[in-house]
Amino acid sequence: MSEQPIQQMTQQDPTSTRLIISMAVAGFFSGLIIIGIYLATFDTIKENKARELKEAVFRVLPGVTQMSQHRLEKDRVVPYAGDPDENTLYAGFGENGDFIGYALTGAGPGFQDTIKVIYGYQPESDMGARLIGMWILDSRETPGLGDKIYKDAEFVGNFDALSIEPTIKVVKKGTKTKNSEVDAITGATISSKAVVRIINIANDKWLPHLPVNPPEAPPQTQTPTPSPTQEVQ
């Protein structure tokens, strides 16, 4: 890659300086290219991530048209504009800016690997605090069995109106009697239980710190679905 030093090169062993220069030149061009591709794809990647997140939040909070991002910092929930991490939560609002619920995340071991869950939590409803939706963000459960935790609409539907009082419990399929019980997936009891355990643990983490008064809707300036990056970031 180094054009200059080559002119005087003979068949002798090159000097260390030349070796270093060669490497430096190669590294320099490599760096240029990498910066170029990074800048060229930055916006698309950011948009993809934001859209993915937004889809997940909207999925677990039915009726939501806009959202705001918050973060749990030292027992307090504060507005947050950085990159999402495990302490990030989202508040979802309806068309008129009325508060609908929080989208909370949790992660924990499943049958194969860590399962990442996002779920919609509604602090107040006619049945008390409840879940209004659940979606799996990431999992490597057994295809055909454990992956039913997100492929089986019936199982996912369990979480559409699920009371969290006293605590969510998994029961054998078809024996659900209480509002706080979840029908397990036949043949994938472990994955089903893992999802519920993750949610229960996440509830213990989040619920005590959620503010009594729901956050304000974000100032609405444009149409409800502008460039998603603006709302999340």
Binding site: F111, T142, G144, L145, G187, T189, I190
Partner: protein, 340 residues
Amino acid sequence: MSEQDPKLLLQPAPLLQQGMTTPQAMKDVWIALAPATLFGIWHFGISSLLVIIATIVGAVVTEWAFTPAAKRQIVLSDWSGALTGLLLALTLPPGLPLWMAFLGGAVSTGLGKVMWGGLGNNLFNPALVGRAFLLATFPIAMTTWHGAPDGFFTIHASNLAMPLMQSATDAISQATPLGLMKFEQSATATGSLLLGTTTGSLGETSALLLLLGGIFLILRRDIDWRIPVAIFVTAALFSMIINSVDAMKYPAPLFTLFSGGMMLGALFMAPDPVTSPLTPKGAIIFGVGVGLLVVLIRVWGGLPEGMMYAILLMNAATPLIDRVTQPRVFGRAKSNGGAK
């Protein structure tokens, strides 16, 4: 692989395994398995007979296809290929679709035996290789357990699923004793476990008949008695200890011994002379390992049954055990170069 090393045959007695590669030994195993097999067929109906036939056909056809024509006569005449199929069938649910049973038989022989160079060279028990493949491939069909059918000649609809297709969904699955233990913490009475009137794989339910067959094999010196005895003692002791900690949660020793594939595995699969250690000390280590692993997997693992994985894992350790426990060969260099 140290088992096939001819020098190993020079070790001092006892060499109980010596007669095992002959057709006579295979015949003994057939005789020993007959009562439990016949009971399974009687208990689970004609379906189970079909499953047995499918696996045996799968195993024998594969063996035939992958054996050079010149050797076919010898290889097929010792009944070992069909025995692999039978052993596999005994570990399958009676309602398994026949095409899966056939595939299992083919995989047992193909991946479990032929690929290693034929009988005597395989590292893992072929029947269990087939079962492991089926369990990983068709987890739902392999854990759908039918109880005894209405009549002897009733064929489960799931048996007749078209190749590559799912079984009909009429299956009324019943939990096996191990499943009940694991997920509902309820133990099945030892009496029915002994008789075999429970749900389960088609040849594993009758502990008593399997035990009879096993004793026959031990008396005929076809298998090393140390392996089953070590498995039973270890598993019973281990389960006694954890049972005394929490009797509600953990199974009692008798339940551990007589439920699931314990008898079938400990008496007919673990002591397979090809895949178990040759030395007496090695046999005991092997048995203790299987016994510990079974209880570990059953109690803390994700699956109700752990016999298959316990035996396969210890199969993998067999060459190592053989090397470690090999008696000194006198008149040779001290280094283990002799075993290599």
